[in-house]
């Protein structure tokens, strides 16, 4: 592998590449999931809203994948990275790949990730990695709106009818275990933080938790107890859902390599 042995920032090329892929893949996979709603949302206006958010996320992924390709230095561009990697080479958080379920499950997944991306990108605007800080500044504006949307729906569903409350609580109980990796640093997170490329995850953790706790209170939802779980998407260990998602997303490029419009 000819990845740069060490970047100007002092990070090993492989570390740096992989960290940017984590951000890129989370946006890409969540954007792909949301796009599955197009044509199926409960109202025309929601269809547009979910489609808009999906496009924002895919736009973030494109910038990040292009940047990751430049870091890697092997000539791979955004399309190769999006369509020609297999599941174990994807480093998105596993929460992003969870199926849409009903509208409540989609909203709960979205709110948990939106609050996290909002706080993470906010910190990344001060990254020592300038290209990454610029991408984060653009993404941050989008994430603010995403959170506004998902938090509004979380409250509306949680504090809505008895049925919407039950569905939102069930989704929260089912998805909560996947939040562990959002806020628990692994060795790569620590190395990136020590070089000021990424923020210490503990800072993001505190702000994310405060945001989520306030939203859940307003939504009259109960925050589940923390649960340990063994899958960590950001290390490439995924639930079975990612492979199916990639099967659909990558089908065209896999079947007709190099096909273009």
């Amino acid at each position: 592998m000819s990845a740069a042995a060490e970047s100007a920032l002092g990070a090993s090329g492989e570390d740096h590449f992989r960290y940017v892929l984590r951000l890129a893949d989370t946006s890409l996979v969540l954007g792909q999931r949301l796009s599955e709603w197009v044509g199926h949302a409960p109202a025309l206006e929601e269809d547009l809203a979910l489609g808009n958010i999906a496009l924002d996320l895919i736009g973030q992924a494109r910038l990040l994948l292009s940047y990751a390709g430049r870091i890697e230095g092997r000539g791979r561009e955004e399309d190769q990275l999006a369509f020609l990697r297999d599941a174990p080479e994807f480093y998105n958080v596993a929460l992003a790949e969870q199926p849409n379920g009903d509208f409540a499950a989609t909203i709960v997944r979205q709110a948990l990730i939106d609050a996290w991306q909002l706080e993470l990108y906010h910190s990344l605007t001060a990254s020592a990695d300038e290209p990454l800080a610029e991408i984060a500044a653009k993404a941050l504006k989008e994430c603010r709106y995403h959170w506004r949307f998902s938090c509004g729906w979380l409250v509306r569903l949680g504090d809505g009818t008895p049925e919407s409350h039950v569905r939102a609580q069930e989704a929260l109980d089912a998805l909560w275990r996947f939040t562990e990796e959002l806020i628990t640093p692994d060795a790569l997170d620590v190395r990136m933080a020590s070089l000021a490329i990424a923020p210490p995850l503990a800072a993001v953790h505190g702000r994310w938790e405060a945001r989520i706790a306030a939203a859940l209170k307003e939504a009259t939802l109960r925050q589940p107890a923390s649960q340990h779980y063994p899958w960590h998407g950001k290390s490439g260990v995924h639930t079975e859902h990612l492979g199916h998602l990639l099967g659909e997303m990558q089908h065209l490029q896999r079947t007709y390599p190099g096909a273009t419009w």
Partner: protein, 94 residues
Amino acid sequence: MNEDWALYEVFIRARSGLEHKHVGSLHAADARMALEHARDTYTRRQEGVSIWVVRSSEIIASDPEEAEALFEPARDKVYRHPTFYDIPEEVKNI
């Protein structure tokens, strides 16, 4: 679901200094959702810098039956139109 949602009218200001213009309507369960739907439905292509939404039921409209009484009397009063002087070319938006 839309049967439970109220109808809102949407007004968009295209850029600073211009007035808000009616652009259409949408359904929403509450005011916040109406604003978000307006943003997602009507400003996707940079159409505006400000949004107003108002519940359609809050709009008080004139009665078409009264059109004659309301509007006919103005028809023969051409002296109310500012057509008797020239507008300088530099003046926009009048």
